[in-house]
């Protein structure tokens, strides 16, 4: 990466010559001539490239890319350039007992993989539209992200490859770029490659931005990027467990022996299922685990596509809430966090005692359609 790092002072000089404000952070690494810095944040990414490639490698690549509810540990100091790949393809997934549909996915699961980076990191992202292929994600693959082995160990969604050719795109809310360039739609067989900088800390949605975006997202194309603050959260040293939960609605109707997307229900905001981490039983079959007295942190994203979430942990109070996951947006002592579509919060609570803590969308029409899970707390352990 060092080969690409340019001295920001040189950049500042160029900006000065251009007659623009020269406020830069000397520690921010620039890589391309097009880049510039405002308030320590990098803008001006080079154009996205769209091309065709022969690629049969793992569909998800990246050392810090995991399956929900896991979050990879950032085991490096300072900033880093991440090479991340999330191919787009179709996959049959189960979302409730006996209810499966042919989802459109990033990386094969619903929601897609979790990407963890640090504020200021650079992401070099590649995505091939492999909707014309049968892509298997349930077997180990050399060079694949940790996500692969986690999916292999958790077969709740009963993944099966499906071919469903369709144009798709990728829209990272964590990126600050020209959407018409970076979030461009690619045809089946094409690959798009672009870069973005994690300029802001927080938990961000990514999704397919191809019209009908309502259908593409409802079909399963969304996930979370967690951008940890450069200086951390003030409680970092006290946190015992850290999880990611993505809430979403599904709009499915039964047709013959299978389930298909129901656009009427989607427009009417009348979901057939509302789920945490892609399955009505995701956090019941595999509950989150902790111990009494632990400080638990959850990065909670409401992916929608259209509904709100009122996230609540039965028996606990959120000690801290950072709206959108930005450490500057601190709330204290909240019982419930209201999130609009594509909004997130990083919440923390103390597990009061041994027991079972239900996680719910306190909009009970949603909870009763699946938006519920559990955290199991063991006895207190002296630290």
């Amino acid at each position: 990466m060092k080969n690409f790092v340019k001295n920001a002072v040189a950049s500042a000089l160029l900006v000065s010559i251009a007659g623009l404000p020269a406020i830069v952070d000397a520690n921010v690494p620039l890589k391309h001539d097009s880049e510039y810095v405002i308030d320590g944040k990098i803008y001006g990414m080079p154009k996205a490239r769209i091309y065709r490639e022969d690629y049969n490698g793992p569909a998800v690549v990246g050392d810090y890319v995991t399956m929900v509810p896991y979050l990879a540990e950032l085991d490096y100091e300072g900033n880093k350039e991440h090479e991340v790949r999330m191919d787009v393809f179709s996959q049959k997934v189960e979302v409730a007992p006996g209810v499966s549909y042919n989802a459109w996915t990033f990386g094969g699961s619903v929601p897609g993989p979790v990407l963890h980076v640090r504020e200021g990191d650079r992401v070099v992202f590649k995505m091939k539209n492999r909707s014309t292929e049968e892509v298997v994600i349930t077997k180990p693959f050399k060079g694949a992200a940790p996500y692969y082995s986690q999916v292999a160990q958790n077969q709740l969604q009963k993944h099966e490859p499906v071919i469903a050719p369709m144009p798709h795109s990728m829209d990272f809310h964590s990126g600050t770029v020209a959407a018409n360039d970076k979030w461009a739609t690619i045809a089946p067989g094409e690959t798009i490659e672009f870069e973005w900088i994690a300029n802001y800390a927080g938990t961000y949605m990514y999704h397919c931005g191809t019209s009908s975006v309502l259908m593409h997202t409802a079909m399963g194309q969304y996930g979370a990027v967690v951008v940890s603050p450069k200086e951390g959260y003030p409680t970092d040293e006290d946190v015992d467990q850290e999880f990611v939960i993505v809430q979403s609605e599904l709009y499915l109707a039964e047709m013959d022996d299978s389930f298909i997307y129901d656009h009427t229900a989607a427009l009417a905001r009348d979901p057939s299922h509302v789920v945490f981490n892609g399955h009505v039983s995701a956090l019941s079959e595999n509950p989150l685990k902790s111990n009494a007295g632990d400080r638990v942190r959850i990065h909670f994203l409401n992916a929608g596509p259209s509904g709100t979430s009122s996230f609540h942990v039965i028996g606990a109070i959120f000690d801290r809430v950072w709206a959108e996951g930005d450490p500057r947006n601190t709330w204290y002592g909240m019982q419930t966090v209201l999130l609009g579509a594509s909004s997130s919060a990083t919440v923390e609570f103390i597990v009061p005692e041994e027991g079972v803590y239900k996680l719910v969308d306190h909009e009970f029409a949603d909870a009763e359609r699946g938006a519920a899970g559990a955290l199991y707390a063991g006895p207190r352990k002296i630290k």
């Binding site: 050719p165 144009p167 067989g189 019209s211 047709m255 298909i260 997307y261 009427t264 427009l267």
Partner: protein
């Protein structure tokens, strides 16, 4: 040689596509407004294949036009997967003789139609024919929308289904494959006709005359079709040909 002969004998059984049907002149109101000042289009009569072109007929075309064989096609005319489901350049997949041909690029579809003395239908012609077909079939908006969304939920299964070759009226406009049209890249694209805002998410309402299920289903077809490249080939993308009236 044996394979070639067996393929030809299959053709005798399958026969050629049925004769084109006449789509009578008329006026139609597009569900998707490509030009906000044009809410209805007057269409002259034209002829259209009653069904999508099938494998058996496409094999005859490649035998007669060597430049469109899989092992001979110019690289610029496809994305690398042209007829990739054929066991060999002379052999169509088993049990697919009377299914809609797929894995064909826009260039190949055009060449095929030209060789039949026809052409690809324009987008307006295809959509006008679709409206005509829906009326002919008595399909309600809801049934039509469910058919389209159902097919997109499992498109490969629909694409593999067979097609009768004695159709005397329009068939399989919505229950087999997506179909190429001549001017498929009209909106949401990167060419001169790009509407930048249309490419971003959620920005579809201003193109629609109403927000019913049928219009969304139709819009979805426009959008999907428009995001293919002329070189694109997929297992669910085929075509049928149009012809001018004599």
């Amino acid at each position: 040689m044996t394979k070639w002969l067996s393929a030809m004998s299959l053709l005798v059984i399958a026969g050629a596509n049925a004769d084109p049907v006449i789509i009578p002149a008329g006026e139609y109101k597009p569900a998707v407004l490509l030009d906000e000042s044009v809410d209805s289009v007057v269409m002259p009569a034209f002829k259209l294949d009653p069904t999508p072109v099938i494998y058996a007929d496409y094999l005859v075309f490649t035998q007669a036009n060597k430049n469109w064989r899989r092992d001979n096609i110019a690289a610029v005319f496809h994305d690398g997967n042209y007829l990739s489901d054929w066991p060999s350049a002379d052999t169509i997949p088993a049990k697919r003789a009377d299914s809609a041909i797929t894995q064909v690029s826009w260039f190949a579809a055009r060449a095929y139609c030209s060789a039949q003395g026809g052409r690809l239908p324009t987008l307006d012609e295809w959509e006008y024919a679709s409206n005509y077909y829906l009326q002919q079939q008595g399909l309600s908006d809801k049934a039509y929308a469910q058919l389209l969304f159902g097919r997109h939920s499992n498109p490969t299964a629909y694409a593999k289904q067979s097609i009768g070759h004695d159709a005397e009226q329009l068939m399989h406009m919505h229950d087999r494959v997506n179909e190429w049209v001549e001017d498929f890249q009209l909106l949401l694209t990167n060419g001169d006709d790009t509407d930048l805002l249309a490419g971003s998410c959620g920005d579809s309402a201003r193109f629609l005359t109403d927000y019913g299920d049928a219009s969304y289903a139709t819009f979805f077809r426009y959008q999907t079709r428009s995001n293919y490249r002329a070189q694109s080939t997929t297992s669910t993308l085929g075509f049928r040909c149009a012809y001018d009236m004599e």
